[in-house]
Subunit: 352 residues, 2 copies
């Protein structure tokens, strides 16, 4: 993976605001709110609709079905190896749109800031959001800011809601998945969840693991050009591979089989997940997508993934099977099988 | 104003969930999350795109420019006379779209819930959202739920992001406002802000004041049919009339004059705002809109407002004047004038 740009952005920059911290008045709708909006949000995100400062952004409509995705982000720590809450918030919503076959176009951003939150940190988060939005080719066009009294929030919460457009010919979904289809992922699993948890738990690590957080719309577009019969895509966020594999087979007349040995995994993830007692197949990713594709297009999809900066370690990890129906299985190199269970309890709180 | 429906919804209902309170696992992306989403959100909001449980909702595109508005809601108390945070969240975003000339169509809803939040209260909020969305003719099509550890949130935060469509011929904005234009509001000012504050401050009130929270897209559509040359509309939320009046004149070659005696005001609002030391012209409304219209259409607009349930006490409160430029003024019955200042400091924290 290429060096994430957020490392550079994480360098401490002086606050350009005349306040070092967020005040209640920054969210009251008065002069200070306007100042924060104009000097930080509008100046950084720099899109024409945002500059209008209207109640709603007015946007060109290129046609096609509309895709709408919303996600709130509460990750702790706010900055982590390989990324930050801002990159996460933008990439997460971009990915939710892209896996539905949409071209992400517009995004709204809503901040809930706690009184006293560091203004310089807010600026770093905002710049990281802009950087990620630019990478994804998405315009940030609408926003909202509220400030919570001290002790009533937790630093920063970010909601991103994205709008994309789906060409008429796109037909993706579990409904078109067939036995024999191949299951691909674009790289190593568990990086984000284990990176955040190992940082939070203060593990004494010789080598720091980095989150995989990235916008995947570019990679997904390349895969779909190479493999027009992509059946289904889903980003492997909360609950990881396990959650998505179970979502695919739920109430369906087929199963999903994963070959344990083919699942790409970072060595550090294997080590640290053992120390943390977390199954990396259940850990969150923020730059990984599962793609199910017709068998005769699997190699083309794999090649397209590997040619992309976010797909160097892509692999065909399994397939769709006739039996057992409605179950996701992991098969080991020795042929033994276990059920890939849906996570029940909170395993990794507030990592995405 | 008709009796707000949320009073009925506020009656205590038993939780249908098997948990009395929100648990961390309700936000983890696992089984409990799915249960909460399916049994409460999907069941109550009941829209086809939501039932798909996809990463993004896939929606019909009727054409026209797209309007996108986002708003987070953190009101305390969650239930207040005349409404609740759910009705507020839906109506607020509907109104933001409608004042831009858009027909509101779709909405996403993102919850940030604190661990331990009462499940029965959440169900009441969700039902109130559905009721308000139905009243406004908007479909809730996408959602997200995150759970914050105890002490890291404050009960419930709701983000609503709305999508609407603007017909090609609509041309609204400060740019088309002209001296001589008339300024209307659809009823009494300050009701929401003063109702919430008096409840929060525990004022000993003989008569309880009710919030005006309501979706205004129906009223606005009626006004626009009656007065095709509406120039500008804005809902009078945070900062009230003062904030919007200043927004209109900012950097413009005209001023805005409000006749003090013509501003509709509830007697209770006058009394309580004095007790609270709050200027009702700066207080938030959640069911009031300022409409600027060509002078020859002002009476038609007024008549249309008054014929609507949310416009019974509508009035022409002022006009656009050539001088002084860039200033909003209040003129008293005696002819004296004062500047209607933009609110600077937090006057009414967390009321919308």
């Amino acid at each position: 993976m290429s060096k994430p740009s957020s490392d550079r952005l994480a360098a401490r920059a002086p606050a350009t605001s005349r306040y070092d911290t967020v005040r209640l008045s920054h969210g009251s709708g008065g002069k200070l709110t306007l100042e924060l909006i104009e000097e930080l949000f509008v100046a950084t995100f720099s899109s024409a609709p945002l500059e209008e400062l209207n109640d709603a952004a007015v946007l060109a409509n290129p046609g096609g079905r509309i895709a709408l995705a919303t996600d709130s982000h509460t990750v702790k720590p706010t900055f982590f190896p390989g990324g930050d809450i801002g990159r996460l918030a933008v990439a997460g919503t971009v990915n939710d749109l892209a896996v539905m076959g949409a071209t992400p176009a517009y995004m709204s951003v809503a901040f809930l800031l706690e009184e006293g939150y560091d203004m310089a940190e807010l600026e770093r988060v905002v710049r990281s959001m802009k950087h990620t939005a630019d990478e994804a080719g998405v315009a940030i066009v609408a926003g909202d800011t509220k400030v919570l009294g001290r002790g009533h929030g937790d630093g920063i919460f970010i909601n991103t809601t994205g709008v994309g457009f789906i060409p008429d010919e796109v037909n993706l979904g579990v409904g078109v998945v067939r036995p024999g289809d191949k299951v691909l992922v674009n790289g190593t699993l568990g990086d984000h969840g284990i990176a955040v948890m190992s940082r939070r738990e203060g593990l004494d690590l010789s080598v720091e693991l980095e989150s995989d957080v990235a916008p995947l719309n570019g990679l997904i577009a390349a895969v779909r050009r190479a493999a027009p019969n992509v059946r289904f895509m889903r980003d492997l966020t909360r609950g990881g591979l396990a959650a998505v594999a179970n979502e695919v087979v739920r109430r369906q007349a087929f199963g999903l089989r994963v070959f344990d040995a083919r699942v790409p995994m970072n060595e550090l993830v294997e080590q640290y997940s053992e120390m943390l007692g977390i199954d990396p197949m259940l850990a969150a990713n923020e730059g990984k997508v599962m793609v199910i594709v017709a068998p005769d297009e699997a190699e083309a999809a794999l090649t397209a993934m590997r040619a992309h900066q976010y797909g160097r370690r892509a692999a065909i990890i399994g397939d769709i099977v006739r039996r057992p129906e409605g179950v996701a299985l992991v098969e080991t190199a020795y042929g033994s099988r276990r059920v890939l269970e849906m996570p029940i309890e909170e395993q990794l709180p507030r990592i995405c």
